[in-house]
C-alpha cells in the first residue's frame, strides 16, 4: 500500500513537472509568434513612418512634460486607463 502511495506521489509530481515544461514550451512558442509577428510588424512600420514610442533623447533644455492632472468626474476613475 505504501509503495503504491510513493508511486502515485512520484507520478503526480512527475506529471506536474511535465505539464510545467509543456506550459513553458507553449508559452514560448505563442509569445514568440506574438512578439515577432505582432510587435515586430508594428516596430518595423513605426520605424518606416518615423514614429518614436520612447523619447530617449529630448535634446532640449527641459525634460518636463506639461500636464494638468487634477480632479475629474467620478466616472473617469472607473477606467483602468
Amino acid at each position: 500500500m505504501s509503495n503504491l502511495k510513493i508511486f502515485l506521489g512520484g507520478f503526480r509530481k512527475g506529471f506536474k513537472d511535465f505539464s510545467a515544461v509543456i506550459t513553458d514550451i507553449v508559452n514560448f512558442v505563442l509569445l514568440s509568434v506574438v512578439y515577432f509577428i505582432g510587435v515586430g510588424i508594428v516596430a518595423l512600420g513605426s520605424r518606416i513612418a518615423g514614429k518614436k514610442f520612447l523619447n530617449l533623447k529630448s535634446g532640449e533644455n527641459s525634460s518636463w512634460v506639461k500636464r494638468n492632472l487634477s480632479k475629474r468626474p467620478l466616472e473617469e476613475y472607473y477606467r483602468s486607463f
Binding site: N27, F28, L31, S32, V34, Y35, F36, V39, G40, V42, A43, L44, S46, K52, F53, L54, N55, L56, K57, S58, N61, S62, S63, W64, V65, K66, R67, N68, L69, S70, K71, L74, Y77, Y78, R79, S80, F81
Partner: protein
C-alpha cells in the same frame, strides 16, 4: 464610509482601509507572508484591515487601485516596440504575468474578495502625491514625487490646495533618477528595489570622485529637470540595468558578496551627491513656481533620508512632510484618501502623526502562546517596573527585542517592532552585528531620541519636521555629543534619527526616559526587529522565533519579559536560512 486602497504586482504590496477619512488599518503584505517586498495581491493585509474594522468586504464602499494598469501596459508595449528585437526576453518574461493578473485587476479583486462594489483607478504619481499631502498638516503645499516609474511618469510635481491636487509637470520614462539610483545599486552588487539604502549608507565613507564623470550619464537642466543618456542603460529593453557603455566608462561592476573596494565606495558617494543635487535643484524650481511655504515629498526616492535632511537648509521651503510609507506601499493609502477627500470631496479630518496602523495582540493571546509553548517568562503588572527593568537591561548592554501594541506602517521599525540597545557603548554596533543583524560593517545604526532632547544632540531643522518621527531625515550630530553616542554616529558625523513624542507612543517614550535616568542620555539604538533578509516581525510567534534564532538577549512582549538564556531548548541559527 469605508474605502480600501490597494497597491500590488510591482513591489511592496499593501492595503489601507479608511473609515470616514481616518485610517482604520494599514499594512504591507510582506509582514504576513514573510516574503520581503512581497508583490502579490495583498489578501492577508486586506483581511487584517477588514478584521480590524470588523466588517466584511461587501461593506466597503469603494476599492481604489494605486495605478492605471492599461497605461502602464501601454508604456511596456511602447518599450518593446521601440527596442524590437532586443526586447524579446523582457517581453517573454513579463507578458504572462500581465495576461494572468495585471490586466485583470477588477476581476482579481472581485474574485479574491467576493466584492461586487465600485473599483476606482488612480494614476500612480497622483496616488503618491495624495499619500503625502492628504495626510499632512498642510492646507496648501507644493508636491514632488520621485520614484523608479509609475505608468509613464518617473517624477511629478505640482501643488495642492484644500482637497485638490494638481500635477503640473512630469518627467517620463525612461528618464528616471530612481532607476539611475537602482542601476548604481545593481552595479555595486546589491539587490535592486531592496538595497538602495545600502548605497546611501556606504556613501559617507567615500568621496564623490565620479561626480563629474556622471555628467556624461545625466544632463541636469536649469529648470530642475534631467535627462539620462540611455546609451548607458539597458533597463528599457532588458531585465538588467547598466549597459556595456556604462561598464566601459566606470569599470567592471562589483560581484555580489565580494569585497567592497574604495572605488565602489566613491561611486556610491558620487551617485548620492548627484541625487541630492538633483533633488535640491528640483525643489528650488518647484518653490519658484509655486511660491508656497510647505513641501510634500513622496515616492521611493523620498526614502533617501540623507537628501531629505538637506532640503529645508538648501531651499526656501519652511516645512516638509513625508508620510511613513513613502514608497509604493504608501500609494494604497494615497489611493484611499484621494478617493475620499478629492474625488468625493469630503472634508480632510486626518493628519498622520504616527505610523502605528498594523496588527496588535492582546495580553491573553500572548500568554496563551507563551504557556502553550512552555516558554519561561516574567509578567510585570506595573508598567513602571517593566520599563525600569528593560532600561536596566539595555544599560547593561543587552540586546532587547521590543514588541508593543500595533505594528508600524512603512519600512522603518519605530518602537513597536524594534530591537533596542545602548547607543553610548562604542562596541554596540559590533555586538549587534555579531548577535543579530550580521549586516555590512559600513551600515550605520539609527538612534531614537525624545523630541525635546533632539536639539541637544542634533543640528536639526526647527521646528522638527514630522518625517523625523518616521526616521526619514538624517541630520548632523553635534560635535560635542558624538563621543556620547558613538554607536549611532555615522562616519560623516550624521545620524538617521527617529524623534519620539510622548503622545505617539507613551511606553516607548517612557522607556527612553528611564534609560536617561541611568545613563544621562535620552537616546537608544533602534533597529528593525527581523532576521537578516526577512521582513520586520509581525506576530509574537515571529518575534520569539527571531529572538531564538539570533543573539537577542531579552524579548519584551507587551507586559511579558522573556530571557533567551531561560529558553535554550528552542535556540536555532537564523544565519543558516538568511537571505539578503
Amino acid at each position: 464610509m469605508f474605502i480600501l486602497g490597494i497597491s500590488c504586482f510591482y513591489h511592496d504590496a499593501a492595503a489601507c482601509l479608511i473609515k470616514d477619512g481616518k485610517i482604520v488599518a494599514a499594512a504591507e503584505e510582506e509582514r504576513f507572508t514573510r516574503k520581503k517586498h512581497d508583490i502579490s495581491f495583498p489578501i492577508n493585509a486586506i483581511n487584517y484591515c477588514l478584521k480590524e474594522a470588523g466588517i466584511a468586504a461587501r461593506e466597503i464602499d469603494y476599492i481604489v487601485f494605486y495605478e492605471k494598469p492599461l497605461l502602464k501596459f501601454e508604456r511596456l508595449l511602447s518599450q518593446y516596440i521601440h527596442t524590437f528585437p532586443k526586447s524579446f526576453w523582457a517581453f517573454y518574461k513579463s507578458v504572462p504575468s500581465w495576461l494572468n493578473e495585471k490586466l485583470r485587476v477588477p476581476s482579481v479583486i472581485r474574485k479574491k474578495l467576493k466584492y461586487k462594489g465600485d473599483i476606482l483607478f488612480i494614476e500612480h504619481h497622483m496616488a503618491h502625491a495624495a499619500s503625502s499631502y492628504l495626510v499632512s498638516p498642510f492646507k496648501e503645499s507644493a508636491i514632488l514625487t520621485i520614484d523608479g516609474v509609475g505608468e509613464w511618469a518617473t517624477t511629478a510635481f505640482g501643488y495642492a490646495k484644500g482637497n485638490d491636487i494638481t500635477i503640473t509637470k512630469e518627467i517620463h520614462f525612461p528618464h528616471s533618477i530612481g532607476l539611475l539610483y537602482s542601476t548604481v545599486t545593481a552595479y555595486l552588487g546589491f539587490k535592486v528595489n531592496n538595497d538602495e539604502y545600502k548605497v546611501m549608507g556606504l556613501a559617507p565613507y567615500g568621496k564623490p570622485v565620479y561626480y563629474d564623470q556622471f555628467k556624461k550619464v545625466i544632463k541636469v537642466h536649469e529648470d530642475g529637470s534631467y535627462e539620462l543618456d540611455m546609451d548607458y542603460f539597458v533597463y528599457h529593453y532588458k531585465l538588467s540595468m547598466p549597459s556595456r557603455k556604462f561598464i566601459e566608462e566606470f569599470g567592471p561592476p562589483r560581484k555580489r558578496e565580494s569585497k567592497v573596494e574604495q572605488r565602489h565606495i566613491d561611486f556610491a558617494a558620487s551617485v548620492q551627491k548627484l541625487t541630492e543635487d538633483i533633488m535640491i535643484n528640483m525643489v528650488n524650481h518647484l518653490h519658484k513656481e509655486t511660491k508656497m511655504d510647505s513641501l510634500c515629498l513622496a515616492g521611493g526616492v523620498a526614502l533617501n533620508s540623507v537628501a531629505n535632511g538637506k532640503i529645508l537648509k538648501n531651499s526656501p521651503f519652511k516645512n516638509v512632510y513625508i508620510q511613513a510609507a513613502a514608497s509604493d506601499a504608501g500609494t494604497s493609502l494615497g489611493a484611499a484618501f484621494y478617493a475620499y477627500n478629492t474625488i468625493l470631496g469630503k472634508e480632510r479630518v486626518y493628519t498622520m502623526q504616527d505610523a502605528y496602523h498594523g496588527p496588535s495582540f492582546s495580553l491573553d493571546y500572548i500568554k496563551k502562546f507563551l504557556d502553550k509553548n512552555g516558554i519561561k517568562y516574567s509578567r510585570f503588572e506595573s508598567e513602571n517596573e517593566l520599563l525600569k527593568e528593560t532600561a536596566r537591561l539595555i544599560y547593561e548592554n543587552n540586546v532587547i527585542g521590543w514588541f508593543q501594541d500595533r505594528m508600524e506602517w512603512g519600512p522603518r521599525a519605530l518602537g513597536a517592532r524594534s530591537i533596542l540597545s545602548n547607543a553610548s557603548n562604542p562596541d554596540m554596533k559590533d555586538i549587534l552585528n555579531l548577535k543579530v543583524k550580521h549586516r555590512e560593517q559600513f551600515r550605520p545604526f539609527a538612534p531614537v531620541v525624545t523630541l525635546e532632547d533632539a536639539y541637544d544632540y542634533f543640528e536639526a531643522d526647527k521646528p522638527m519636521p514630522i518625517p523625523a518621527d518616521f526616521m526619514l531625515m538624517v541630520y548632523p550630530i553635534k560635535e560635542d555629543k558624538k563621543s556620547l553616542i558613538p554607536s549611532v554616529t555615522h562616519v560623516d558625523g550624521s545620524g538617521r534619527l527617529q524623534t519620539i513624542r510622548k503622545e505617539q507612543n507613551r511606553r516607548y517614550y517612557n522607556l527612553i526616559k528611564e534609560f536617561q535616568k541611568l545613563s544621562n542620555i535620552p537616546i537608544l539604538i533602534n533597529t528593525s526587529f527581523n532576521i537578516r533578509g526577512e521582513p520586520i516581525v509581525c506576530t509574537p510567534e515571529d518575534a520569539y522565533r527571531c529572538m531564538m534564532g539570533t543573539g537577542i538577549d531579552y524579548l519584551v512582549l507587551e507586559d511579558f519579559l522573556i530571557a533567551r538564556k531561560d529558553n535554550p531548548k528552542d535556540m536555532w541559527d537564523s544565519e543558516k536560512i538568511a537571505k539578503d
